[in-house]
Amino acid sequence: MSQRITINPITRLEGHGKIEIFLDEQGEVRDAFWQVVELRGFERFCVGRPAEEMTRIAPNICGVCPSAHHMAASKALDALYGVAPTPTAKLLRELEFNAFIIEDHYIHFFFLAAPDFILGPDASPAERNILGVIGSLGQEIGKQVIDIRKRNRDIIRLLFSKAPHPEGGLPGGVPRGIAEEDRKTLMATADDSVNFALFALDLFKKEVLGKKALKDLILSDAYALDTYSMALVDENDRVSFYDGTVKVIGPDGREFVRFHPDDYLDHIAEWVEPWTTIKFCFLKQLGWKGLVEGDDTSLYRVAPLARLNVASGMATPLAQKEYDLFFETLGEPPVPHTLAMHWARLICALQAAERNQSIVRDPLLTSRDIRNMNLKLTRKGVGCVEAPRGTLFHHYETDERGILTRVNLIVATQNNAGPICLSIKKAARAFVRGPDVKEGFLNRVEMAFRAYDPCLACATHSLPGGIPLVVNLRDASGALIRTLTRD
């Protein structure tokens, strides 16, 4: 008899989703589906709002990565108003954004991912969580994790009011500067963040790479996937978070395209499937080819592994050493191993911390020149950042008063939607066999999506209205082309 296994809700991620696994009569997996079930809305209800309010509304898309939306919104406002932030404003924004990358990567690694590695995929579900991790590693390490996360979030609060939901970025600047007396605390946080990043990497090498079973899991075919990869790179082709050029490489490692974020619509498109609420991103030039990997795919991955695969290196020295070790251990880029994303994530956190070490020592940081008021409304702006979960685009258009007439968002997890579905299918095929499936094997399936650190609140920003009853398709003149109805 055929069998169906439902994992609901999927856990240790941000947002709502479930996994359906269908087994045949021999107990083999026929197929598996990663379904996003949440629907909310921003693109439509932001229309009609004053554009400058987007740095206060867009962060509410996500409580885990609000800083990414805040910064993409700030940059879209710069473009919309044809203005560059002052050097001090740019430093302050970068300081905050790096602090966010750090705290966000650690909440993922320690709170969401580490239970599978520190306690193991087969640990009891009751213990497989951060409290179990602290129990295993000891209170002292637990307190260090909490402390470094808190202090980096304090930087977010200092500059933009709240964490979560920083707000208030303005076209051409930031709403407040910082005082010279803040610098000492910021320096201590940045220095300790570098030390902690090195500690976290050592911990990963000892507790994960140092254990054969876990290293084998990382290297297994069950968790390998061949797709294109996308990330922002700086002018030296290094990993970049706040700003840069979008670079895409193929499954063979060769550069496929490099483009300015303003041109995202020429390169990225979204596909709709009826069984999930998430839209699937693909490379527009290749066309939609379905949920396939390898030479025939048009899917690409974003996030830490893609970043390392795409860039020629890291932008800071200690992170560069780790980058070299990463590829020495796992082979030439592009590394296909999905679980290696955890290691790459910790390397990215190190770069962010090192970069903040420089920023906090920059004399310009405390200048009062925090706003460029030379605003000229251009009526269109695209803002792009390398968010923790991958490349993020905000695109705004306005009327002559700066009131939004169009909002389009391509968020990090959407970029990864197709690859996550494929990773789930491969893991299910490798680990699940009916009729009696141990919980630990279902957890191995969940580990396939966890590596991406998906954020489903972000990914479903687009649709608050829900499943349709009737939709009328109209042409530009408003004439009815077709009516779509729900059966």
Binding site: N8, K143, K150, V272, G466
Partner: protein, 330 residues
């Protein structure tokens, strides 16, 4: 020592920010974990809904529930939590008032779908495919939750015992709320576990507010001005929701030099913060110098987006929409 009290931390239509706020208890989270047994927390723990279903009625001491209700799964989980928990605390602005995503109630579902799945500039959808409640796949059915007509605040779907507002709620308020439950030191049901004053009363800029506050000329938008970090925003002609908003947030936005947008919801006794604010604003506007009251009102630009950014479903305006939707449901 008896068994630890059991608690659930769960999100419905939420962004995860309230869960982050729980993690922001920092070392306090370890103390909470010592004092209670967490039986559901999807963002951080691996218990599934079936684990919660296995408990008896009222077996859990408290459920901290964030997010609004928008689909059948949110509704089902909300009812499940209500049945299993003796006390339900609505955590955060979405649970208390609907939150930012409830601005979607201003627009029809069909229009949103058309925008997102057909007109969005990045979408390639030649067959006009849309997510469906049921999709057939090789004799099997893939199911998505049924979606409701509007976004609802939590207490419009289940009874809620206490409310902790904020986007996000400050960790201190969460901690105090949990402590109040554990020590059985609770105010009457229906209370909001936050200060009862208006934001202006605790705002450091209040001392710069003139005794007779007057706004002359058009409302100024925040990006157009270099706001003085000391002066009351309203006195500078910048919209600030402080007068109609409950305090308890620590005035962090004001300290960052950006005005209040009202995420803590209305002050006690006000059912409709938007209409209350607009009537006070009308009293402040002195248009004699400009001569055109309509131009001043028009300068607000987006009244509904300022006045009901977080509270649309529970406002007079929003409740009317919800009532209409309910009446129209066959």
């Amino acid at each position: 020592m008896g068994e630890k009290p059991k608690i659930a931390i769960c999100w419905l239509g939420a962004c995860g920010g309230c869960d982050e706020a729980v993690v922001d208890l920092n070392e306090g989270l370890l103390e909470v974990a010592e004092a209670v047994s967490i039986e559901l927390w999807p963002v951080a723990m691996d218990f599934k809904y079936d684990h919660l279903r296995n408990f008896g009625k009222n077996e859990l001491a408290v459920g901290l529930v964030s997010g609004h209700v928008r689909n059948s799964e949110h509704e089902e989980v909300a009812h499940l939590l209500r049945e299993r928990c003796r006390i339900i605390i609505g955590l955060g602005t979405c649970a208390c008032f609907g939150g930012t995503p409830a601005m979607a109630n201003l627009i029809s579902r069909e229009e949103i779908l058309d925008t997102v799945y057909v007109k969005a500039p990045s979408v390639v959808n030649p067959l006009g495919k849309l997510p469906q409640p049921e999709t057939e796949w090789e004799g099997e059915t893939l199911v998505l939750p049924e979606f409701m007509d509007h976004v609802y605040a939590l207490n419009q779907v289940i009874s809620v015992d206490y409310f902790i507002p904020g986007c996000p709620p400050p960790p201190e308020l969460i901690k105090n709320g949990i402590r109040a439950v554990l020590t059985d030191d609770l105010p009457p049901k229906g209370s909001t576990l936050a200060p009862r004053k208006a934001l202006c009363e605790t705002c450091a800029r209040n001392k710069t507010k003139p005794i007779r506050l007057e706004i002359h000329g058009p409302i100024r938008r925040i990006h157009e001005v270099e706001a003085d970090p000391e002066i009351c925003f309203l006195a500078e002609g910048i919209l600030c929701m402080g007068p109609a908003t409950r305090t308890g947030c620590g005035e962090t936005c004001i300290k960052t030099n950006i005005p209040c947008r009202g995420c803590f919801g209305p002050t006690p006794g006000i059912t409709d913060p938007g209409s209350r604010f607009i009537s006070s604003l009308a009293a402040l506007l002195k248009v004699g110098t400009t001569g055109d009251p309509e131009a001043v009102m028009a300068s607000i630009g987006d009244p509904v987006g300022y006045l009901y950014r977080f509270t649309h479903p529970v406002s007079t305006l929003g409740e009317r929409c919800l009532r209409k939707a309910t009446e129209e449901t066959p």
